[in-house]
Symmetry: C2
Subunit: 136 residues, 2 copies
DNA sequence: CGGTATCCCGGCCGATACTG
DNA sequence: CAGTATCGGCCGGGATACCG
């Protein structure tokens, strides 16, 4: 299993070059960067436009400096976010989505908005589940 | 901040009832169930059709019994996956997506396939980043 | 087969302090 | 403002054993 082909024999996507269902495939890590707890929210926040570090921190409610910094590094490394630092004093750094990042985030936001939209149904399901379980 | 409205003042989605950018909003947890490390792969695997526990375990390369069990419980609680147990011996249990689960998974797969598709570009970006960083 | 229970370790992650 | 450094808890998650 090298890095340019990670075929998983047991999935229907068996002959795709980069298969997330295969444990060793680098696409799985990238997917986790994108869908991860902070990665998804960071990308989502940046979709509206470029933001500075602390603006981002306020938008993504609950993220710590450390995790935001780490998240931004991963996303920048993946080529999804572009970092632009201006050597002024005080320093000003803007983060914005790359074209690839925008394409990824469009799909991500489609999922996010759908989940937000169906939350009433989900909450109902959760209550039914909990009641049925609590009865046991 | 109750459970039927979680407005985040600082995002553009400020007046949406269920806002993932708000820390306390239940939609964030549900999104994590869907996009999480094992949740996303489990949903993706089930999109092709219903599967039994150990079939699922083999498809989702690297998942442990414990995590698969836990993941399936979360997804079932959210109303995304339906569990059907047949009281035979040996027992047979099938998992399948609910209609809501299918809708969610369609959007999820759109993202997954896009990431898989663009992996060559991502790998290139990563190498550039690593080279530039290694040079420092 | 289809799980649950228990143990336990590594690393995710928050808090705090510090730097340019 | 925009981070990095360091410490520590806690919990995700793997390994193993066990049950119906």
């Amino acid at each position: 299993m090298d890095e340019t082909s990670c075929t998983a024999e047991l999935t229907a996507d068996a002959d795709l070059p980069f298969n997330v269902f295969s444990k060793a495939c680098p696409s799985r890590r990238t997917l986790e960067d994108v869908t991860g707890r902070w990665g998804s929210l960071t990308l989502g926040a940046l979709y509206e436009g470029s933001l500075r570090f602390n603006e981002l921190r306020r938008r993504v409610d609950g993220v710590s400096e450390k995790m935001l910094s780490q998240t931004l590094h991963s996303l920048e490394r993946d080529g999804l976010v572009h970092r632009e630092a201006q050597p002024t004093n005080p320093p000003r750094v803007d983060y914005e989505l790359s074209p690839l990042g925008r394409d990824v985030t469009e799909r991500l936001l489609s999922l996010i908005h759908f989940v937000e939209d169906r939350m009433p149904t989900v909450l109902e399901a959760q209550q039914s589940y909990d009641v049925a379980r609590g009865a046991l």
